[in-house]
Structure formats: C-alpha cells, structure tokens
Amino acid sequence: MDAVVEMTSVTKEFGSKQAVRNVSLAVARGSAVALLGPNGAGKTTSIAMMLGLLRPTRGQVRLFGGDPGSAGQHAHMGVMLQSVSVPDRLTVVETINLFRGFYPAPLPTERLLAAAGLKEEGRTMAHRLSGGKMRRLQFALAMAGDPQALFLDEPTVGMDVTSRRQFWDELRGFIASGKTLLLTTHDLQEADMVADRVIVMNEGAIVADAPPERIKMEFGGRQVSFAAGAGVDLAQLDRLPDVLGVQTAGRKVMIRTTDSDALLRRLIQGEWDISDIQVTGAGLEDAFVRLTTEMGERA
C-alpha cells in the first residue's frame, strides 16, 4: 500500500447538511499536501475522517491501508488538532513523556524539546503555557512517536513570527527525510512554502488539486505593479493581452497577469510612461480568493 491516506467517494452528512461531498483523494507516501479552503469547506471534517475521529456517512477511508479508527494504525503518525487544551498539573516534560509512552519507538525527550523550541520551559506546568508555546508543545506531542506521517490541522494559529520560522524549518527537515505531511492552514503563503501539492476545498468538495505553482499560475498568475505617469490612459490597460485584472489607487497601478514577461515587454517597448516597476508572484491567497468566487459564480 503506497498511499498513507485514501478516501474513496466519501460523503459526510450531519443531519441534512453535507459537510463533505463525494471526495476521493489519495496522499502518497513522501508527499507534502496542503488542504485549503474557507471555514466550513470540509477540511477539518475530512481530516477527522482520515484520523478515525468521525465515520463517513458513505464511502471508504483507509489509513496506512487499514481502519483509521483502530489504535493499531496510529503507531507511526503524529497529529495536531485545533483547540486542544493539555491536562493540568503536568509539566511540559511530563506531558511529552506521557505521549512518548504511547509509541513503540519514541524520539528522545531532549530532541522533542529542541524541535519545539521549549528547552527553557521543560519544568513549566504545560497548561500555563502561552498560546504560541502551547502550539509548539502540541507539535512536540505530534512528533513524539517519531512519525512517518504528520497530520496538522491549522498548526500555526497562535504562533508568533519566530515560532513559525522554527516550526517551518522543522517541517521542511521532516519532509526532506522522505516523510509524509498533510496540513490545513489559513496561512496560504506558508502552505506554499512547504507543500508540493495543494488541494482546494469549497463547500465540501474538491475544487482544485495541483502543485502550488500550477494553482498560482492557473488561478492567480503574477502581479505587475508600477506608478503611471500623468500621460498614461489607465483605461487602456484593461485592453492589453494576458491581463486578468487591473486595480488602481491614484496613479499606482496593480495588474494581475497570466504572463508577466510578455506584459513587461509590451509596456517597455510601447514606451509607456511608468516607473517603480515591481513583479511579484501572486500568493496562493489571491488564487484561493479568485478560485472560490469563480466556483460561486459558476454555481
């Protein structure tokens, strides 16, 4: 079995509401997958079914080729869920050791403290940690069993900038060693940083499934911005080829385009009176916003 997780025609209903509609996907061993979508898109419900926390109404979910609900399938994976509070009256080290005790071949406590950046907090009572450090502790718990696969539901919520940087460094090391990652996040730029595959969900269904570069090119393109001189007729910009959209703020212009190279050539060769030219890749955020609105319009 090469897939870590396999969902086949999975539907989950709560009463009359369909949270997940006929979703099929497989997460290959060694891949890094980001699950994106607005609140209520069905990401958390999907992850919950992958982990055996919820049973699908229809369809089948396999985890490491077996039943996701069986504790025996959980020996080689680590999980971060949203809004989990740790038990009171245990120190950080004791909480980590509690989790280490669950796994057949846990990582050393020191290694986990270092990975989570909690070396100073080992003796602190775990439930008194600040929001960011609490998330880092939960990352240490996810890593406790030396997992082959990590499932992270909105992992960086509540982390400060320094914590995030260290966290992504750790995750990149994890992926580089050939292990499997599945995460959901609202910080699409960060998903872009680690994922080699992005699955976009909206209203319970998968609306896109591609490498982040493709998602960005297909749905967002690139962004060219500049300051336009007084002689430039802004209305003409819309008529240029490859232009997806134009935004202006005073004389400041931002153009979203499918081909920034061709657009620049045209602007320079046409001797447009423009200055301060900048080209940026449109973030996944833009792609995502566009994608979901397009889906909405189509519906």
Partner: protein, 247 residues
C-alpha cells in the same frame, strides 16, 4: 500496555499535585470522622458493632464516592471538553487502554482513601480488627468502588455541568445512602429511599463484615446493576455527543 501504564503514571502524578483532592476528597472524610466520632463517642453500640468502626466504614465509602466523582468525573469532563480525549484517540492508546488507565487510577485512589481513613480510625479511636477482617473490608470497599468509577464516567459526559452535577450527586448519594447518618436513625421514608441507593449497598456489606456477617449477594447484584446502568448511559451519551458536526 505500555501506553496504559504511561497514562496511569501521569494520572497519579497529577493527583499528587491536586490540592483539591487532598483538602476535600481525602480531607473531608477524615475531618468528618474526627468531628462526629467525638460527638457520639466511638464506643456507642450500633448494628452489632461500635460507632467508631461503623462510621469508619461510612467515611471510607464517602471518600471513595468523592474521588470517583470529583477527581475522576470532573477531570474526565475537562479532558473531553478540552479536546484532549479527541487527540488521544489519534494515538496508539486505544479507548480500552484509556478506560483501563482511568480505572486503575481510580482503584489506586480508592485504596489510598480507604487505607488513610482506616489508619485515622485505628490511631485516633484504637479501632482494632483481626487482620483477615481488615483485609476483607478493604478488599470489598476496593472492588465495590467500580460502579462509582462508572458513575464518574457518566458525570464526565456532562461537560460544563460536570462540576455542579458532580457535587449534587456526591452530596445526595452520601446523605441518602446513609453514609453521614446511619440508616437506622433516618425517618421511615428515608430508610426506604436508602434501600435504593448504590452507596447504601456499597457500605452495607462492609458494615456487615464488621459485625461478623458475610457479604450478601443481593448487595452485589444491585451494585452490578448500577454498574451496568451507569456504563450504558455513559456509552449512550458519548455516542450522541461525539457525532456532532465540527468546523
């Protein structure tokens, strides 16, 4: 098994730091014993035995009930509410292993409470029984505590209401089951109510053992029935609560 032991160890560590456990759950039965024994005098005769011995059993039962509800039930409620139980369900610790660890913890605490209350009675009131009798009574109170662990699980399903509900059940079962005032001293209707209380059937065999009688099967049967009732209700509530949608 390793996972269960890890969980058990952490539970005991937490209890060792729980001031509420020592002050209330363990402290109250001990304080009540010392106070009420002096009002009546430990040598007073009751139910074929002495008040000092009889009330020792009452307070041990009261302590076991308290830890089942306050330590076990309320802690379980917090762990469920805080999403901790959900996270544990994604680990190699099985639901059975978790339940087993909780039960082992509860049995450990029950044993501790019974021994502490008995030690206080022994040293303050010179309660002295034959070694075999001590063992019988300790063993009964120890194993008989299981239905109350199941009650703790049920209270653990009550979410935010667990603390208030727990306190209510704790006090009601103690009073109505005759743990504070002997059943013989209660009005007739109250005596009838007591006969239906799990606490009464938990303490009565131990009182009987004091006066040389043996454990009656009717008590065991009623406790077993309560055990099944509490566990079934808890399973029922759990199924309803855990199938709710999420974000």
């Amino acid at each position: 098994m390793k996972a269960t032991l890890s969980q058990w160890k952490a539970e005991l560590l937490r209890t060792g730091r729980d001031r509420r456990f020592f002050l209330l759950t363990l402290g109250m039965p001990v304080a009540f014993y010392l106070i009420f024994i002096n009002q009546q005098g430990g040598d007073a005769q009751i139910a074929g035995t002495f008040w000092g011995e009889y009330f020792m059993v009452s307070m041990a039962a009261f302590g076991v009930l308290g830890s089942s509800i306050n330590t076990f039930g309320v802690r379980l409620a917090a762990e469920r509410k805080g999403g901790w139980v959900r996270l544990l369900r994604t680990t190699p610790l099985s639901s059975f292993g978790y339940a087993l660890a909780k039960t082992l913890t509860q049995l450990t605490l029950s044993l501790l409470i019974v021994i502490v209350v008995f030690a206080v009675a022994h040293f303050s009131q010179h309660v002295d029984l034959a070694p075999a009798r001590w063992l019988e009574i300790v063993a009964w109170l120890w194993l008989g505590s299981l239905p109350f662990a199941a009650l703790g699980v049920l209270i653990g399903m009550a979410g935010n209401a667990a603390q208030a509900l727990g306190t209510l059940v704790y006090l009601a079962l103690s009073m109505l089951g005759g743990l504070w005032t002997p059943v013989q001293a209660l009005p007739k209707t109250m005596q009838e109510v007591a006969r239906w209380m799990p606490t009464y059937h938990f303490a009565r065999p131990a009182w009987n053992l004091l006066s040389g009688h043996s454990v009656q099967w009717s008590d065991v049967a009623i406790l077993l029935a309560y055990f099944v009732l509490f566990i079934s209700l808890a399973a029922l509530v759990q199924r309803r609560v855990d199938s709710r949608p999420e974000g």
